[in-house]
Symmetry: C2
Subunit: 321 residues, 2 copies
Amino acid sequence: MTAPLSEFELIARLAARLKPPGVPGAVGIGDDCAALPDGGGFLLLTCDAAVEGRHFTPGRTSHAAIGWRIATANVSDIVACGGRPTAALVSLGVPPGLPPETLDALYDGLARAAGHYGFDVLGGNVSGSGQLWVDLFMLGRAGRFISRAGAQPGDLLAVSGPLGDSAAGLALLLQGKAPPTPPPHADALMERHLRPLARLDLVEPLAQAATAAIDISDGLASELHHLAARSGVRLDVEAERIPRSPELIACAAAMGWDPLRMALGSGEEYALLFTVPRGGGLSAFGGLGTRIIGEVRAGAGVYLDGEPLAPAGWDHLRPPT
Amino acid sequence: MTAPLSEFELIARLAARLKPPGVPGAVGIGDDCAALPDGGGFLLLTCDAAVEGRHFTPGRTSHAAIGWRIATANVSDIVACGGRPTAALVSLGVPPGLPPETLDALYDGLARAAGHYGFDVLGGNVSGSGQLWVDLFMLGRAGRFISRAGAQPGDLLAVSGPLGDSAAGLALLLQGKAPPTPPPHADALMERHLRPLARLDLVEPLAQAATAAIDISDGLASELHHLAARSGVRLDVEAERIPRSPELIACAAAMGWDPLRMALGSGEEYALLFTVPRGGGLSAFGGLGTRIIGEVRAGAGVYLDGEPLAPAGWDHLRPPT
C-alpha cells in the first residue's frame, strides 16, 4: 500500500507511459494547452471538467454559472498560451433522473460564454453517470505559442490584475446562510467567484511581449512554482506588490481574513501570471490593469520577500473541503 | 414531472439552445464528428467517454482494455467521417483511493491504441470524482467530410464486415463464471468485444466512394434509423445479406441465441454502415470484407425484408443492464 499520489505526481506518472508527440513542433504535456503546428501558427487544445461534489455543489452554484465557469476555465488556458478560442465539444455525465431543466441551464451558461468569448460549441457526447459532470474540450488558435518554460533571468514577473476576490467570494458562499450584517462588497466578491472572466483582452499584448505565461487556476503560490520549475529559474515576489482589490481589502478587514493569504491561494480566478523582458516589455499592457509583482533570477525556487514560499495550491485529487 | 428523456431527445433539446457554428463550412451536431474547414480539407473533432458501472465493470474488463476501447470508439467516429486520427486529449475522473496501477493499465491500453492507430496523446486533465471515468477527445484530418446525410435513392447500403460478434462476446462475459463446456469460439468472441478494431483500412475507399457513413456504435438497427432520418431516405435491408461470422453462428447455435438479433443489436463493434453509388461504387472496397446489405430508396423509414424495423439500439441514458 502506497500513499495516494497528488494530482501532479499522477500526471507525471501517466505522462511517462506515453510516447512523445510524433508530429514535429507539437507541444505535449506540461503547458496550459497542448499544441499542433498549423498554417504558420498553432492549433491549441485543452480540456477541463467540473464534477458535482468536487467543483460545485448543487443548490449553492447555479447550473448556468457552472456552464459559464467551465468555458472560462478553458478560455483562460488558451489565452495563457497566446491564443483565442475557436471551437468546443461538451461531454456530459448525466445521473439518472436529472431534470432536463438542469442541463438547459448549464447549456445556457455555456452558450452565453460561447457568445462572449467567440467560440462555437460544435457537438459533444452524453453518457450515463452516477453524478453530474461536464467536461469541456476547447480548440484555439495562436500565432506564437507561449509556454511556461520561457522565463529568463532578468525578466519582470507580472499578474493580470487583483488576486484573491474569488477565494473571498467562495468563502462567503461556503458560509451558507448570510450573516445578519454581510461584510462590505459580499455580493460583488461572490459574483466574481461565480462569473469569472477570462482575459481575452490580454491575448495581443501577451503574444507581443510575454516570455512565459500560466493561467492561475490553482492559486498564485502554486503557479509560481510551476513557472519556476518549468523555466528553470528562481522567482522573487514582493508581497506588497501583489494586487488586491479594494473590495477584498474591506471585506477581509470585516471578516478578520488575511488578504495576502487569499491572494496567494485563490484559484478559479482565471487571472494570469506572466513574464516580460525588462525595459519596454510592459508597454504593450498599458491600461489593462496588469501589475509587476517581482522578478526572474537565475537559480531555482520561489521566494516571497526573500523567504521561501510553499506551493499550497488546489490539488484536484485532494478530498474536497 | 415529465418522463425521462432518451439520449437522442436530450441531445436535440440541448442542441436547440446553441447557436449554429459561426465558421463558414463548419459541421456541428448530427454526425459522428464535428468538423472545421482547414487547409482545403477538414479538421475532425470527436469525444467519447467510458464510465465505471455504465460502460465497464471493474473486475470484468481490464483497464488496459478500457483504454484501448475508448480510443477505438473515437477512431471509428473519425473513420466514419472519412478521416484519420491525429491527436487526443484524455480527461480522467479519479475516485479517492484508486490504485495508481489501475490508471497505469488504462494508459498502457491507450498508448497501444495510439501506436496502432497513429495518433499522439498530447495531454489532458485529471479531476477528482465519485467514480472512475475516462473521456477521450480526438482530432483527425479528412480530405472530404463524409456525413450521415448524403445517402441518395438508388445507392447501395453496405457494412464493413460481420456483425454481432461483440454482442455475443459481451453476453458470454456477462454470464460471469464459465460454463462447464464453453460454447465454440467463446474466447475469440469475448476478445472481439474487449479488443475491437476500428477500420482504418477503410478510410481511402470511403473517401473515394461513400455518399454517407455512420459508425455502428449503438447497434445496426439504431444506426440504420439515424442514417435514414438524416439523409431523408428509406433504407431496405435483406436479413440474409447481413454478414455474421462463422464463430457467431456456431456459438449462437450452441447457446440457443438468434444470430440475426445479435447482428442487429450489437454495439461497441466499431463496424461501419455506409452507402455507395450503384455501379462501380463498391470496386474501391475489393478485398476489405465489406458486404452489401440492401439499398437506398426514396421515402422514409427502415425496412427489413419489407417489414418496418424498430430502432432498438443502446441508449446511453437508459439504466445499465
